[in-house]
């Protein structure tokens, strides 16, 4: 997986590549639902969202997260296996996005096939 644009939440990978996004809530109960290519579901207890990229070049997978709070806190959303993350100061090979709230956040990731 490779970061295309950190601020616009855009990534790319190889055809059929496995993608793992980890969501961790701090200071709030996790109140998270997500929509993956149009299908909505609640976040699993382990906080992991896993899927495979499509198989044709330039095709995209869209992941939209709804992150809500019942107390002030932070969500840490990590796209795993991203060696080129522009904000990865510790060089751990993943891309971390931190969002504090309330208010609620809606974040829409795009994962392209290279």
């Amino acid at each position: 997986m490779r970061e295309l644009d950190h601020d616009n939440l855009e990534y790319e990978g190889g055809p059929g590549e496995a993608v793992t996004v980890k969501v961790v809530a701090k200071g709030t109960t996790p109140i998270v639902a997500f929509t993956l290519d149009g299908v909505s579901q609640p976040l699993a207890a382990d906080g992991l969202i896993q899927f495979n990229l499509k198989n044709t070049s330039n095709q995209r997978t869209d992941l939209q997260l709804i992150l809500d709070f019942n107390a002030p806190g932070t969500y840490e959303v990590t796209v795993l296996g991203v060696p080129n993350c522009s904000r990865d100061a510790q060089a751990v090979g993943s891309c971390l996005h931190k969002w504090k709230g309330p208010p609620r956040k809606i974040k829409t990731f795009a994962f392209f096939v290279a």
Binding site: N8, A33, I66, D68, N70, P103
Partner: protein, 668 residues
């Protein structure tokens, strides 16, 4: 020949200039590379921390950083100039694709300049400077998809919509502008307890843009943008305006379980029932007497939460403190305790003036929460939240996705960022982004947040409602309906949690001037009902520290037990418009005096032993923005402790909850 000579000269001059510019650019680029390499070597060969060379190393590094920054800024200027020249209304797709690549190069330079500012602008230590500088200077260019003719046409349409066009398409100012401007605090929260979802969203968005050091975009900022569109579009198009009260603030206001004033056994308390709950930091209450005794004094109570004080003095914020307290057993216990100090201002050398000295200290109290079910983060509510997400969360996610697809164009491929489908809305967004980027970068903290929030608020009032498509209006309406259903369901769950059980033990040591001191043990239970009514019950007894003297040589000397009491209160919270939450209550108390009552002078009043019944109606009037409440009550009693006559008395006071203020000033 005469005519050709000037043309030839001009051509030679122009070509020479271009060649010189080209040489200059190449020289600059070489210098940039050289500086980067030198900085990298300096970072890799940094002296040990604290060594004598550290200063000169840091100065040299800063000098190189400044040189690099200057060159990068020049390069950025040149690139922007080229972009401006190329990005014309008749530009062909190939040119626009090239412009996109130039823009990416500008973004890369922006990132590198910011890295330099972070690394050298704050006198960072070499290790941190290295970490900051180690971030990639320019992102590797992605393969940018060529814009389609439709996309090019869309871009041209957006570019042709001026700020005046947007202004003309906006709703009239008297409709679009919100009634009262709510400022933001330095944490990106509204600096008021009364605010709308719009206020909350604008403050949050301004804060996010600063924290994340980025521009506004549709991948990250859909929630506040949808809220803005809901507020503006629906106000003008369908419902006539809808203000969504912020549920987090509502939840704080609903915490009616905190006793800020003195307990009922202290002179001057306006309440006849003690309530459970412990304030996070401390409360200051100044109250003017009730009909418990025949004397009426002014009592000032300070109630302190030790965990809150420890955290506050450790310079930690309101919520961080709470979270840490949950993980630490000692802090977790301290969080459930509070200590109160009551001062009777009628005492001492300067009667009527609060001096806070030992003479005026009339009571010391300690309170421990034995049981509190009113924190929404408790493990016991996890299943409720999971159910909420599975139902309302998923429904909202579906509707948000539908609205996103209806209003947002995802672009044809990599490098094509999301944009609104409506050209007017996209132009509105881009104009807002441009205005936000012009906010004075030297501002910091709340000033910067408020400067950006002001721009967003002004632009929010300019949503081009007359040029927005029906599809967009329908999409936003769908979002607003589901958002309201979601918020209502969430508030119901928070209401249910706010009615949880509370059981508290309160100890009060009352220090009389001449009479014997007493100890009062009060057990307080509270719960809510399905109809948002708060019920509180007290059971207490009071002991003398030493037996009082008899009223006369022939009278029996009172025993150690002074009294026992039972009390109950029904409290009904209700809201009046934007004024905040009022509380109406009715209380009753029965007290059995087991011996004759003691006077302040230390004597005993004969014939005062017996039963006392007290009833009270009251109303808490809030000033929400200041965290102040004015309790006004009417108390009626069959007698007082010292005088066996009926009494009716009106009371008033004010309570001041620092939690409210602190949470506004530093909520995270």
């Amino acid at each position: 020949m005469k005519k050709i000579a000037p043309l030839l000269f001009a051509a030679i001059f122009t070509l020479s200039s271009i060649a010189l510019q080209g040489q200059q650019a190449a020289t600059d680029e070489a210098q940039i590379q050289q500086l980067r390499a030198n900085i990298q070597r300096m970072i890799e060969n940094a002296p040990p921390q604290g060594s004598a060379e550290e200063r000169s190393h840091r100065d040299a590094l800063a000098s190189l950083g400044n040189q690099l920054r200057d060159l990068l800024v020049e390069k950025r200027g040149a690139l922007k100039s080229r972009i401006k020249n190329l990005e014309t209304p008749d530009a062909l797709p190939e040119v626009l694709a090239h412009v996109e690549q130039l823009k990416q190069a500008v973004e890369g330079i922006n990132g590198e300049v910011q890295n330099i500012d972070r690394a050298f602008g704050q006198n960072l230590a070499p290790a941190r400077a290295a970490a900051a500088m180690a971030q990639p200077a320019i992102q590797a260019p992605a393969q940018v998809a060529q814009p389609s003719p439709a996309e090019t046409a869309f871009r041209n349409a957006v570019r042709n919509i001026s700020t005046d066009d947007i202004r003309e398409a906006a709703a009239p100012a008297e409709v679009a502008t919100s009634e009262a401007v709510v400022t933001c605090n330095d944490q990106g929260r509204p600096a008021s307890t009364t605010f709308s979802r719009l206020d909350e969203s604008i403050c949050g968005l301004a804060s996010d843009l600063i924290d994340e050091d980025r521009g506004m975009n549709l991948a990250q900022d859909l929630d506040p943008i949808f809220i803005i569109l809901t507020a503006q579009l629906l106000k003008t198009k369908t419902t006539g305006g809808e203000s969504y009260a912020a549920f987090v603030s509502e939840a704080t206001e609903k915490r009616t379980d905190q006793q800020m004033g003195a307990g009922p056994s202290t002179n001057g308390s306006t309440s006849i029932v003690s309530k459970g709950g412990v304030p996070y930091l401390f409360g200051l209450a100044v109250e003017n007497g009730a009909a418990v005794q025949s004397t009426s004094d002014t009592t000032i109570t300070f109630r302190v939460n030790p965990a809150g004080v420890i955290n506050t003095f450790a310079n930690k914020g309101f919520v961080t403190g709470f979270q840490q307290a949950q993980n630490d057993p000692v802090m977790n216990f301290l969080r459930k305790t509070s200590i109160g100090f009551s001062f009777d201002t009628s005492r001492g050398n300067q009667a009527g003036v609060f001096t806070g000295n030992k003479q005026q200290l009339s009571a010391i109290s300690a309170r421990v929460e034995l049981f509190n079910d009113r924190d929404p983060r408790l493990k016991k509510y996890e299943a409720d939240w999971e159910k909420f997400v599975a139902n309302e969360g998923v429904k909202l996610a579906q509707e948000v996705w539908k609205t996103t697809v209806a209003t947002v164009d995802f672009g044809s491929g990599r490098g094509q960022h999301k944009s609104f489908r409506d050209p007017a809305l996209q132009a509105w967004l881009e104009q807002m982004t441009a205005k936000v980027s012009q906010v004075d970068a030297s501002l910091t903290g709340a000033s910067r947040i408020n400067a950006i929030a002001t721009v967003i608020r002004e632009q929010a009032a300019l949503v081009p409602v007359d040029r927005v498509s029906e599809d967009t209006i329908q999409g936003i309406t769908g979002f607003a309906k589901q958002d309201k259903a979601y918020t209502t369901a969430k508030n119901s769950l928070l209401d249910k949690i706010a009615k949880g059980k509370l059981f508290t033990l309160d100890y009060t040591n009352t220090r009389a001037v001449s009479a014997p001191d007493t100890s009062n043990f009060n057990f307080i239970a509270a719960t809510g009902t399905g109809s948002r009514v708060d019920l509180t019950a007290n059971g207490s007894f009071t002991l003398f520290h030493k037996r009082p003297l008899a009223a006369s040589p022939t009278s029996p000397r009172p025993g150690r037990f002074r009294d026992f009491q039972f009390a109950g209160q029904v409290l009904v919270p209700f809201k009046v418009g934007d004024l905040g939450q009022f509380d109406f209550w009715f209380s009753g108390r029965y007290e059995r005096l087991l011996g004759d009552a003691s006077t302040a002078a230390g004597g005993t009043m004969p014939g005062t032993r017996g039963d006392i019944a007290i009833g009270q109606f009251g109303l808490n009037v809030p000033i929400t923005s200041l965290g102040i409440k004015f309790p006004i009550s009417l108390t009626f009693a069959n007698r007082t402790e010292l005088v066996k006559e009926r009494e009716i008395r009106g009371n008033f006071g004010f309570t001041f909850n620092w939690d409210t203020l602190l949470s506004k000033l530093k909520p995270f």
